[in-house]
Symmetry: D2
Subunit: 367 residues, 4 copies
Amino acid sequence: MSHNSFGHLFRVTTWGESHGPAIGCVVDGCPPRLALTEADIQPFLDRRRPGQSKFVTQRQEPDQVRILSGTFEGLTTGTPIALLIENQDQRSRDYGEIKDRFRPGHADLAYELKYGIRDYRGGGRSSARETAMRVAAGAVARRVLEGVTIRGALVQMGPDRIDRAVWDWAAAEENPFFCPDPAAARRWEAMLTEARKSGSSLGAVIELVAEGAPPGLGAPVYGKLDADLAAALMSINAVKGVEIGEGFAAAALSGEANADEMRMGADGRVLFGDNHAGGILGGISTGQPIVARFAVKPTSSILTPRRSVDRFGQEVEVLTKGRHDPCVGIRAVPVGEAMLAITLADHLLRHRAQNPDAPGEARLPRN
Amino acid sequence: MSHNSFGHLFRVTTWGESHGPAIGCVVDGCPPRLALTEADIQPFLDRRRPGQSKFVTQRQEPDQVRILSGTFEGLTTGTPIALLIENQDQRSRDYGEIKDRFRPGHADLAYELKYGIRDYRGGGRSSARETAMRVAAGAVARRVLEGVTIRGALVQMGPDRIDRAVWDWAAAEENPFFCPDPAAARRWEAMLTEARKSGSSLGAVIELVAEGAPPGLGAPVYGKLDADLAAALMSINAVKGVEIGEGFAAAALSGEANADEMRMGADGRVLFGDNHAGGILGGISTGQPIVARFAVKPTSSILTPRRSVDRFGQEVEVLTKGRHDPCVGIRAVPVGEAMLAITLADHLLRHRAQNPDAPGEARLPRN
Amino acid sequence: MSHNSFGHLFRVTTWGESHGPAIGCVVDGCPPRLALTEADIQPFLDRRRPGQSKFVTQRQEPDQVRILSGTFEGLTTGTPIALLIENQDQRSRDYGEIKDRFRPGHADLAYELKYGIRDYRGGGRSSARETAMRVAAGAVARRVLEGVTIRGALVQMGPDRIDRAVWDWAAAEENPFFCPDPAAARRWEAMLTEARKSGSSLGAVIELVAEGAPPGLGAPVYGKLDADLAAALMSINAVKGVEIGEGFAAAALSGEANADEMRMGADGRVLFGDNHAGGILGGISTGQPIVARFAVKPTSSILTPRRSVDRFGQEVEVLTKGRHDPCVGIRAVPVGEAMLAITLADHLLRHRAQNPDAPGEARLPRN
Amino acid sequence: MSHNSFGHLFRVTTWGESHGPAIGCVVDGCPPRLALTEADIQPFLDRRRPGQSKFVTQRQEPDQVRILSGTFEGLTTGTPIALLIENQDQRSRDYGEIKDRFRPGHADLAYELKYGIRDYRGGGRSSARETAMRVAAGAVARRVLEGVTIRGALVQMGPDRIDRAVWDWAAAEENPFFCPDPAAARRWEAMLTEARKSGSSLGAVIELVAEGAPPGLGAPVYGKLDADLAAALMSINAVKGVEIGEGFAAAALSGEANADEMRMGADGRVLFGDNHAGGILGGISTGQPIVARFAVKPTSSILTPRRSVDRFGQEVEVLTKGRHDPCVGIRAVPVGEAMLAITLADHLLRHRAQNPDAPGEARLPRN
């Protein structure tokens, strides 16, 4: 059962609320003897951290991760790895406004109806703060995925899409949006400044790419790599859609246009003409780059009042003051990368268990 | 672990290959004392069955389901329900052409690289024939979901979308496409006839709606209802994208436009202005209709030859003769409904375990 | 969740009632390309089959197993293996006597209180008939455990224990009790004839030994090999106790007496002086023989009337006529072997996933 | 998958090594709105804590538990409960002696063969220190089990059994052995003093009783209450045997002697003459007291040198100096209680999910 866990063999269980004393996770099943210290995790957390530009929430947290178990003398031991980040910026404020009111688009009402109780401070368990632990666990997953490159980029903000023809991974690290199209990044800067000033918010679409993943990850029918990846990405806060490869656009293609033709490389490697499939066929990786996209809705916390109700069944108006991301999709980039890494690490272990002698590359003949 | 299982408390495990002696499933965790006979399951199978119109594969199978365990005198007993359908139309044909060749867009290559062996007859385990058992298990799930209405419709074929303003559920049962827009259905008839004649294929988008599901289904963070639903739908053959509510379109909305405002009904019921969220907030159902969509790629089996490779690393051309659906998205409608039913039934049991006294409707105050 | 499943990566799900049309199981996660036909499974079923001697139930069933999926041309394919046995001896008899009455020592009352319904014919789901599928699945597990020898023997019947000094595995196959002590087998023949004639019953203790299992199976804390083995054996009908190695007798030993001293063999192999630990330390196999025992209570179905109650809350007397094993412990031997095989196969896959380069034997230095 | 987790719906995941900075656990699935603060957990930890008498290890740890998540204003919220205890007594000592040597009876060799690395300080992950978190999680489980009384007692130390006829639960809390027979407690004091002085050690048998648990907990075949309980208890460090009810002694009884006859109480309650079954029939609780026993081997750490080997394949002698329990069975009493509580809480939630209208008591007729 997986209320708060993700993965099976590489299994991540997170805990913690936005304004509790700490957040943390347990990574169970990590293979032994991999080099791992806090220094391998911290850069990924820094990348996601709030307060880094004026375009993300100004909550100030160093998000300093500690490894509490599962390593010895800088190596993993095969036992559970506990990671912990103390919450430092629990500034005492007045929650009277949201204590009993349900913010539209937030989990408030759903939690109330389900549990009859909720830690309303900063969203409690439903806060995006939990995603810090995903990023930390993702950094551990990357150690398992030696030789696999996992990257993400923002490909749409609000209604504005990037020009894919100019895709530049290096550029994506040089603007505050993880945007691989410098011209789009400049447009977005203006858009987001405007949204922030007016207390509005914008949605976004993120694209993830994993290169170098071996073929054979996934399993028929329900243990499919794409099914697990869909769950992984849809489980991120505010995500409303997930695509693999061509995604929804595939529905509009003919069978001829959508076929990824194959030929043989000189070294016995299978070469593909296109990658409409996003690297996954029949739920199993083919050795092509794995490509996924997910859509993040605009931040629900806005300054314009919206009609809502409260715990007592009274109609109220709600507006959300305080520190918020005008576009939560930005910080979803490292989170998406982490979920892709965790999903691949889990499937790598699963694949290895059942198929210890499978090839690591798409070469033919297999034996 | 879930190689071939879906769900946790309402758990479906399927087995079987396209051209083996039979296919089947085990439904574990179904509550006792629900009325269940083959007659409760068969109509759903008939709805999905091939050979019903010229627009779906002409494979002739009565798909007669048998209940082999888990019921007694017409009632479920709480023990595992085994369902079985014998494969009758295993016509002996020459598989020489696909035995060693990898059809583009099919699972052939991925299976070879993973397992080094595959039952190539009719796609083996990766055949859409497996989805018959999903539909059967979905019929059992519907018994658990007393009072919940689960329906699906085709809302796009190829690039042609329906006019949502004329949505008519009754109409969707009167054309061979499960199309709720009669005008679109007429256009699609022409399109699909053309595709079938030319040996081409078309993609599709399916929309699913569950009305009457209680609030509180789902769980924070990883056991989210939408995350499990994304996995459920992405696990269907040929699916490349999944959306909840507004889906990818949410990325282009402002926070103001995307807010689902609430007010109180006269009877203490929470009323929503819109349903951009698709009935799920923070991973938990709110009591609004649950709305999901998924995209199905065009059938990979086409008559136009495509370049490919074979098991021996030789370049070949592949074209797929034989009986095939020019638009597999059509038969994905009952399959999608079934996966939605299974996901909801599973979450209903999970919710009940942890929250036995939660309300069945979105009423306030809760107590 | 595991209502009716056992194992994680090598996962067995059984279904079926004693007097339903069939019983079956799904074995999910079996590695591909292992030779497997019905002929590999049937001998183990024949060994467990009722009606083979006058000392076991006279129910006449050929118990002919069919493989319905998961193999192709005599090899496993990595997809789920469905096994099925039709129930042939469903002789129509009058169940009036037990329909509403709760037989002491049987699951009748517990099922009624839990489910409010039960298939009372022959015990329904709680019948030992289910164990036929364990034996079938165990035969598949043995294919995964190449090089591991798994055997079981009856070491106690009623209060009469064997003389361990004369242990003879060959003899255990030559008497109807799987007894490795020929003298004890002769005594038991008299005891059991007496019990059968008087309508009484006897308990038993079974010992299982696995030789050749690699070190490293198991995992710290909860995924322990001995913990899973305890569950595996306790899950067999009528079992009330499980021991590993020295078992309960270890409680009476001093630390000095219980220590399994080690020395090095000429070939780098670790040699042990004793095996009080039963081959498992810290939940992980050491490479020594794995030794487990389990106790089976006397068959609850006896001819002497016992006081009981019925569904309506009335006091009644119950005696059980019909075909029964006077000592169900006998047929528990092949069932115990099967559960040991399944547990080891599951842990072998789990171990391999996390530790692909672990050695297959207890040799030092490790690298 | 359950490398370091126990339970399904009430799921406990522990982490931490003996000499790392902290140990902890995550309790996932706990129902909301149960009163829970550190003060509800600490008394159980104090009961298990080392250093309380001269008969247990002199390691001095306050074992102060902190709740880091999952509660709000003194109530559980339904989100994961993280518990943490800092390790304070990590006295820096020389581990040179055991760093490369494998102590007989310890997990050292098995870890080396499995992982090729281990945190040897104080046993690392295999230390009994992990059981502190079981006790903490067990205290949470007790909140779920309102109305159920769970107690344990030491019924045998070394070869010396208590006199069951004088069983006194109150007395068990008044001696340092949790012994319900005051005369036995006096004998054990002498025995253990002798063992401690000579650097030897003793085994023990613990009996657990749960009174007031509802009928219906458990599930047929593999999700059996007794199977899960066997795993729960066998997973405790140094445990080599588990019994339910009559246990191994049942093997020596006749069917007549072993039958638990039933009659009706005046209030519709089913009354049992005996409880040979230990409250579980067919894997499901009957409403009778649930009775289990487990055997703990003598502490492997002894002062008498034993022959062993080291990482380099050299023969060595090992003796274990330092602070150790001469009878680890004593502190296993609260640990066993905790594992029983966790197992029952998990099954209570599982039962409720599938059978929401089952009765809480063994009354007939059921409806």
